[in-house]
């Protein structure tokens, strides 16, 4: 945030919807590609994978959403949004060309300094894959790939049609510098050539062993996290090496409004990324 102290943190950057992609077969998920209206705002919005932003719709309100695009992708920012409440429902009804606001980047990020030189296991479920996509794209960037060891990705969704970013998944699957373990809970598709099963057992079968040089980033629905945690422990991941991104109700996004607190930590500012060890030291009010 250097040099931005004078910036009004409540004031969003104006952005225009440049593209909308329907991601999931039930149309509950759409990816919005935004471009900044004002020159220079994109530079001010410099972010790291794992951060989030407030999508700000005049007249409706704001919603904190993880940034799905990657810092190495220039000229736009992307968010994949599940239709759930007042703001997201309105957003789903908006069109390319509509103007709204974007406030951020907010929160910490995945600990990229720490992860440098390490093997990274990414475990994701459902539409929580957004900041994980951001991370994968970041790590696979030619300038960055050499900074990391092995990259393993376990990603699951309810059905093939509910997987996000399908084209990219296929492309990553073909690469040899990333090990993809895509899975679905169930499918009737005879051509499905990947895994079938829930994320935790697939993780148990496919994920690398934990160790000093290996970190796991876990992002998904509560039930997936609940059952993945013991699997990772069994694989030898230390609680310091299990990295998670939390969600809580937020308003300001920069640590002032008080509602996202879990003990003395604020999910919006001290998080959303915490290690399991840190989380274990807080009241689990998320």
């Amino acid at each position: 945030m250097e040099g931005k102290n004078v910036q009004n943190p409540y004031l969003p950057y104006p952005v225009r919807i440049d593209d909308i992609t329907v991601e999931a077969e039930d149309k509950s998920l759409k990816t919005f590609k935004f471009v900044f209206l004002n020159a220079g705002d994109e530079e001010k919005f410099a972010y790291r994978a794992g951060q989030f932003a407030e999508l700000s719709i005049p007249g409706k309100g704001e919603i904190p959403i993880g940034i799905a695009s990657s810092p190495v992708e220039k000229g736009f920012v992307k968010f994949t949004v599940n239709r759930a409440g007042v703001v997201t429902t309105h957003l789903h009804n908006m069109k390319v060309g509509d103007v709204m606001g974007l406030r951020g980047p907010l929160g910490n990020s995945y600990p990229w300094d720490l992860l440098e030189g390490k093997n990274v296991l990414i475990v994701g479920g459902g539409f929580a894959f957004t900041t994980l996509r951001s991370s994968i794209v970041y790590m696979l960037d030619p300038k960055n790939r050499s900074k990391f060891g092995n990259i393993d990705v376990v990603y699951g969704a309810r059905s093939p049609g509910m997987l996000l970013y399908k084209d990219e998944l296929v492309a990553w699957e073909k690469r040899d510098d990333i090990n993809m373990h895509i899975t679905v809970d169930a499918t009737t598709d005879p051509d499905w050539k990947y895994n079938v099963g829930f994320v935790p057992p697939v993780t148990e079968q496919k994920a690398p062993q934990g160790g000093d040089d290996t970190y796991a980033i876990v992002c998904g629905p509560p039930i997936m996290i609940k059952f993945t945690q013991p699997v990772l422990e069994k694989l030898g991941y230390d609680h310091d090496h299990i990295i998670m991104s939390l969600e809580n109700r937020m308003k300001c996004g920069f640590g002032m409004c008080g509602r996202c607190g879990i003990g003395k930590e604020l999910v919006c500012k001290d998080g959303p990324v915490f290690t399991l060890r840190q989380i274990n030291q807080t009241p689990r009010e998320y």
Binding site: P9, Y10, P58, G258, G263
Partner: protein
Amino acid sequence: MTLITLDTKSWAAGLTAAADAYRLFGPVREDACHTFKALEKGKTPDLDMVNTRLSPKALIFPQSDIILEYSLDESREDHHIMREVQKDVTPRAVVGIRPCDAKATALVKLNFDAPDVKDPYWLAAYEATTFVGVACDAPLSTCFCTTAGCGPYSEEGLDILVMQKGDGFLAKILTDKGRAFAKAAGWNPASGDLAAFEAGKAAAEKKMVSAVQTDHLEAADLLALHNAPFWEKTAFACLNCGTCTFSCPTCWCFDLQDEVAGKSGVRLKNWDSCMFPIFTVHTTGHNPRETKVQRVRQRFMHKLKYFVDKYKTGIMCVGCGRCVRQCPVNIDIRKVCEEMNRFNPADACAVRD
């Protein structure tokens, strides 16, 4: 530090003079209670009170404050683009604020004036304000400022501390802002007896009958305290209204809301309360603090533990006693603080509460 002796006349005349350069606010009697209000020209604050019913925090942090505005009219070039709302940040002075409320403002400042991010609205209002405090010579039985990191003559957060002395006043100028105010008021410097302050302070502190002990809070284990068995009893009577949080000078939580009339809209910053269930409810319906016990615990843990651990400057309470006096069901932070301070996880296992 400068001392100024004032008689009633120069006090009143000074305030009238200062009103040319400052918007003055002070306690005004309304029905049976006192409220902080803009003082009409020529009026002095009514100091015949112990404290106001609501704290003066709203003068810096209004209960409902428009921060952004926008137009939804698509024929306008700037439709759907949010604009900052310009605020009146001309100099103002709060005259008659009690030391406890001034200290509270200093605590709230930790939140709104963080090292890396600032709330420009709060900060602009704060910087525009000169705090002219009046020492508290007759504390209530529910006041416990002296043990809450504050006191009836506490100077923290004040620009001028005034004590009532005989028929007049003795003012202690504490900051540059205070000096500027004294100058605008035409109060002549450097007369008065510092010893009078010390005597007044000692006398007032002696009158304090209520206290809290906070010495074990920081060392206590956060999770053990969070899981302590007493919370259910503590929370039982609670109605989950916002009386305590809204009357508290240190509670700072807020909500952001959009409101639209026709094609013009505003974004508001409204006070919010951790006592309200919707404060934390997720869109999915999941609520991490779903029960009353969780919400009551959050309020006290925030004030007496999380804040203590995070800022290392003591508790987030100045002992003004408003929540004690106004809670409809008599939940008393002094009792809760005592319970928390003496909590020992080992005892909790041995003895059933």
